[in-house]
Symmetry: C2
């Protein structure tokens, strides 16, 4: 199963595809969808939707993992991030994918073991978990791969909890 | 030409359709799209997209006017509003509509004449501008109709400015 991680953003939206391979995890693809800052907002969101739908069609991920964003200092950026996240959530739902969301702290907790890890620590751990020689670049791609890796890493635990509690997930 | 106003929200998304009629403005339709709070976020956004696309197909508006939202006190609500606005902006762009955005203050300025007008003043002015006996209910619908009315009211001014400056809009 492929898992598509998405680090939502309007100017830059990172994505990364991760799968299980040989008892571990492996990166399948990664990149950044960019939209031109001088284009109109609706057109930028439409471009993002087209690109995300193309990724969903190409990789047919079993799950899409989108960062759960909280409000940042810059209100304008935060609203654009929310709008981009809305488009990503919609595209994933319309593709019939399971959708999961984690905060940056949950990703840190899952990959590094504590929620206050630095970005550099997370990036080194992403490289380690995915068997890469160096942290993926640019950082948007590393963040997206980290989301997908977080989902796959914590999946056995979620399944065990679900089985123990009789829940469906 | 019909103008569709959208007051974006995830739990409640108000809409209103306004057109020119007999030298004034008239309300054509209004309502609220709701999504169940206990449903998963991606499914709620998908429901909102389906409903908005149905409205766009039914009324074929020449312009869609979506409130430009700034950050509110409640960060969780603000993110949901941003996501809903993203879905509305995307639906409008994909329907090939002209999209305009106004802040609540810009709507107040256009309809009442000053940006610090109360909600009640705006609602009474919406009723007056649209020739209604009473302010439209619920308030989400009044807000959506106000956005559409604001766009049509300020259109002659925008056209004059565009003509004077040689701009395309």
């Amino acid at each position: 199963m492929f898992v598509l991680g998405v680090d939502p953003g309007l100017s830059r939206c990172g994505y990364g595809v991760v799968t299980r391979r040989g008892g571990g995890l492996a990166a399948v693809a990664g990149g950044v969808v960019t939209t031109p800052p001088d284009a109109a907002l609706p057109d930028r969101l439409a471009t993002l939707a087209v690109e995300l739908r193309a990724l969903l069609a190409e990789y047919r991920p079993g799950a899409v993992v989108i960062e759960r964003v909280f409000f940042q200092v810059n209100a304008k950026t935060a609203m654009a991030t929310g709008q981009a996240a809305g488009v990503a959530l919609l595209a994933a739902a319309e593709a019939g994918c399971e959708v999961a969301q984690y905060t940056a702290n949950e990703v840190k907790q899952a990959l590094v073991g504590y929620g206050s890890a630095t970005k550099e620590q997370v990036q080194r751990m992403v490289a380690s978990v995915l068997g890469l020689d160096a942290p993926p670049r640019p950082p948007d791609v590393a963040d997206a791969l980290a989301l997908a890796a977080c989902h796959l890493t914590t999946q056995p635990l979620r399944r065990a909890v679900a089985a123990a509690t009789g829940a469906s997930r």
